[in-house]
């Protein structure tokens, strides 16, 4: 493993100290360019998540064993599993080859990746819908699509929104590295600064990315609270103990 190679290890420590000294102070001249790139990253994550979400609802419905026969659900599930197997960065490479460098490739990569994951999360939530509800509507003459429209989706609304917000937060983080392969966003600047040894600019990018990610998590959390009903637990009153009067 090379752990006994002490001269090499000590050179590594020296290199790290050298890198640390070059990381600071952050280069503030690059802030406007970095903010532009971060805005593009959020756009990629937002549009990609929305497209993935729109596609994932019908995909999850078609994977639903309680509503559709196995000759529909089995191939749908297999296809979605294949989509999930490929990492977002690899999808970005595929789309850079297909549509060229830039945010379009990143947006398509995030869309497909979100489709794979949201569909699985959704069909699992859909299958947890009370069988009594499905049975009652089947007896009322509901078609498979009507079952999805009137029982499955309304009963899974909380899960649908909760997973959507989670996916967006995840995609903002994932989109920061898509630029490494030329799929747009702040990652392109990151790799550029690393290759040109501009480490103080890299520090600026890391600080701003961290700030934006925390801000997105906060806003997303607030939106989730606005959309989803929250269980408020009342603080229990402390039981008093002591002698009876």
């Amino acid at each position: 493993m090379g752990f006994t190679d002490l001269p090499r290890l000590s050179k590594g420590v020296t290199n790290l100290l050298q890198l640390s000294s070059e990381l600071f102070p952050p280069n503030l001249q690059d802030v406007p360019a970095i903010l532009n790139a971060l805005f593009e990253t959020i756009q990629i994550a937002f549009v990609g998540t929305i497209i993935g979400f729109i596609l994932s609802i019908p995909a999850a419905a078609l994977a639903l064993r309680t509503a559709f026969p196995s000759y529909i659900t089995a191939p749908t599930r297999a296809l979605l599993a294949l989509v999930r197997t490929i990492p977002a960065l690899f999808w970005a490479v595929i789309f850079v080859i297909a549509v060229g460098l830039g945010p379009l490739a990143g947006t398509l990569a995030v869309s497909v990746y979100s489709l794979g994951y949201l569909s699985k999360l959704y069909y699992e939530a859909f299958e947890a819908v009370d069988q009594d509800t499905i049975d009652a509507l089947r007896c009322a003459g509901a078609s498979s699509l009507a079952l999805v429209r009137y029982a499955v989706i309304p009963e899974s609304l909380n899960a649908i929104f909760s997973q959507l917000f989670f996916m967006f937060e995840y995609n903002v983080r994932a989109s920061t590295v898509l630029g490494f392969v030329g799929a747009g966003g702040v990652g392109f600047l990151m790799i550029n600064y690393i290759e040109t040894l501009r480490y103080s600019s890299l520090t600026t990018i890391i600080i701003l990315t961290l700030t934006v990610v925390v801000a997105v998590d906060y806003v997303s959390g607030r939106l989730r609270k606005m959309v989803l009903p929250e269980v408020r637990l009342k603080t229990p009153t402390k039981i008093r103990t002591g002698p009876m009067t």
Binding site: D132, A136, C139, A140, S143, A146, E155
Partner: protein
């Protein structure tokens, strides 16, 4: 006039352990038949087979009409929809597929759904989500939804089991009155001998998947039931 005929019905979930064995049953229009028996005797399974939700392993189930209303044990309401929307879902079999998927129900169906909510005493709660209704109110919505199907036969699975006596009597009276007036047959699974005695016409007792006894509901009492079930 006969509405339901079950002949030599056998059923098993796994193909090994029988749940129903050689069940024979008939039901006339407007008649209320209570299925009684211990838990696991096969009452719910029999109801689901008649509803077309399960297929018989062997035997025949004949219905003279395909209009079957079904009230599951825990009502089967969509909690995020309003009482009126839930009742409207009873018309899905009649309303065109595209219109229903777009949420466009004909005006006369909406009026009928509202009328049924009025009949079960819930018109004032028509716009409230069923998640916010009490157990008794949800039960009334479930009855209204089943009646919205204009059924020839109503299948009800222990549909008052979770309610207090006063609510259970109210809902049983309401349901049986409407069904008698409209000549709707009722096949219901029940545990309460008092309610059966008061509201059913006939009783079939299931024991280990077989009909162990059939009797006039007016003659049912706890001692007689115990004698059959022991």
């Amino acid at each position: 006039m006969r509405i339901l005929e079950v002949r030599d019905l056998h059923f098993s979930y796994d193909g090994l352990k029988p749940v129903l064995r050689c069940v024979n049953l008939v039901l006339e229009r407007g008649e209320a038949l209570a299925l009684m028996g211990t838990s696991g005797a096969g009452k719910t399974t029999l109801l689901k087979i008649v509803a077309g939700l399960l297929y018989p392993y062997e035997g025949v189930v004949k219905l003279s009409s395909d209009r079957v209303g079904y009230i599951p044990q825990h009502f089967g309401l969509v909690k995020n929809l309003t009482a009126l929307q839930n009742v409207l879902l009873g018309s899905l079999g009649r309303v065109g597929k595209t219109s229903s998927l777009l949420g466009r129900f004909p005006r006369h169906e909406v009026e009928r759904a509202y009328g049924l909510l009025e009949a079960v005493g819930l018109a004032h709660l028509s716009e409230r989500k069923t998640a916010l209704l009490s157990g008794g109110e949800r039960q009334r919505v479930a009855v209204a939804r089943a009646l919205m199907q204009s059924p020839s036969i109503l299948l009800a699975d222990e549909f008052v089991a979770d309610l207090d006596v006063a609510n259970a009597i109210d809902i049983m009276r309401l349901t049986i009155d409407v069904c008698k007036r409209s000549d709707i047959a009722v096949l219901m699974t029940m545990h309460d001998a008092f309610l059966v005695n008061r509201f059913a016409d006939r009783v079939a007792v299931l024991k280990e998947g077989r009909i162990a006894a059939e009797m006039d509901a007016k003659t049912v009492d706890v001692d007689r039931l115990e004698a059959v079930l022991r």
